[in-house]
Amino acid sequence: MSFLPVFQREMAMLVHRIGGLGYLFSGLLFPMIYLLAFGWGLGSRVEVAGGYVAYLAKGMLAIAVMMNGFQQTAISVSAARFYFRTFSVLRMSPVSDFGIVFGIALAGAVRALFAGAAIFLAAWLFFDVQLLSLPGLLGIVLTAFCFAAFGVAVGLSIRGQEQFSVIINFFITPMTFFCGSFFPIANLPSAVGKVVSLLPLAQTNALLQADGWDGGAVAALILLAVLTALAFAWGVVRMKRYQEF
């Protein structure tokens, strides 16, 4: 349980940050705008099994969890390194590398799940979207942790805040649009679809859209778990090698 004090510290800081409206809305605004704009504008015109609004609501839930898990965690870690210079407090503490990364990632996951809950509440209020299935719930929890762990690794790897935009532009944004949040991956050209199907957000969407534990949902859960483990392991390695001059 060495991660617990790290988690408590991160959550205490989060409670303060949530007081700032900019922080609260920055991670929610885009998914909410997409949900409302596409839901109202295209909801009745796009043909998807189960209805487009329900499909889109789950896609926006996935995006909100990804963005909040990754972005806020990576910004928090990199700001602590470069701007506030408080990361040395964690690095020097007698908490294991595993515990530090797990504690930060868990706090990031909680933050991402809160954001996801807000999106889902909006979808339920505006569009009467139904509750998630068990694969969807598991998928969203794992996604939150996966992207938060990825955020820790990226936050520890980048050499300056400007490098952060490279990850956003070349990894997060393409995933946002191509991983099945707005339309099924099957609509993509076959070669693109095959590549995209390996990305974590594609697994999240597959799990969210699944009604039960069919072969696709199980495979998506396994792949997402593997990607989560890889992101976490990368974070631990970066933590072990972390230097601060």
């Binding site: 617990l4 020097m92 007698p94 230097q243």
Partner: protein
């Protein structure tokens, strides 16, 4: 290469340390020993490599060559036991801006697995005269008070060795005296203290031994009196300038 034999068992041993960063050599073959329970000063101008040496000793970075041991633990391995034995007070304010002073101390106590952390925070607040400031955020208190809080936080977990990087830089004379009193209190409690400074007076007042660091090289390690005598100077400042000149000529 200058070795300080020291009076007691070593708390910090730095042996043949080289360190470069972005192609620039910051430390060159630095060797020194800090005896247990003493206050040791690293004196030198800006850019001499003092902060880098402190960070290497703290295990925050690794040297290119050489070895550092703190309380018998290898710094480069930065084991949990090693990290328990060190308290670092960096130059910057490292109190979390999102937390109150009390919250920051509490989070720190928990990270170090202190038993009854809230009680320990209250005790530290009493000891370091922070009781009235625990509910305030770092930006709501003075620079001197923040410095005091960071020192209290580092000392609260009872480390064997405290590393203070420019503890009184930018503080007015009254606050500097307060920080000096804190350092003396910590030494009386048996702590080994390594502090960096570019204030000659601070080094002379607080430190049993002083190392002169210039452009990454240790010029000399001795007591303040010994340094003055060896350099044939009336003051530490004169001695430093003379030793620097001799080093340049050599």
């Amino acid at each position: 290469m200058i070795v300080c034999a020291g009076e007691g068992p070593p708390a910090i041993e730095v042996q043949g340390v080289d360190c470069s960063r972005k192609g620039k050599q910051i430390l060159k073959d630095v060797t020194l020993t800090v005896p247990k329970g003493t206050v040791f000063g690293l004196l030198g101008p800006n850019g001499a490599g003092k902060t880098t040496l402190i960070r290497l000793i703290a295990g925050l970075a690794w040297p290119d060559a050489g070895r550092i041991r703190v309380a018998g633990e290898d710094a480069s391995r930065r084991s949990v036991a090693f990290r328990r034995r060190i308290g670092l007070v960096p130059q910057e304010n490292t109190l979390e801006s999102e937390l109150t002073v009390g919250g920051s101390l509490l989070a720190y106590a928990r990270l170090y697995g202190v038993a009854h952390p809230k009680v320990r925070v209250r005790e530290a607040a009493r000891k370091y005269h922070l009781t009235g400031f625990l509910a305030r955020r770092p930006e709501e208190i003075s620079g001197g008070m923040r410095r005091r809080a960071v020192i209290a936080r580092a000392a609260m977990t009872d480390p064997d060795v405290l590393l203070l990087d420019e503890p009184s830089v930018g503080l007015d004379p009254d606050l500097r005296q307060e920080i000096w009193a804190l350092v003396r209190t910590l030494q009386r409690a048996g702590k080994t203290i390594l502090l960096t400074t570019h204030y000659m007076e601070e080094a002379e007042t607080l430190c049993g031994r002083i190392a002169f660091l210039r452009e990454g090289r240790l010029l000399l390690v001795d007591t303040a009196d010994g340094i003055r005598r060896r350099a044939g100077a009336d003051s530490l400042e004169q001695a430093f300038l003379r030793l620097s000149r001799e080093e340049e000529e050599a």
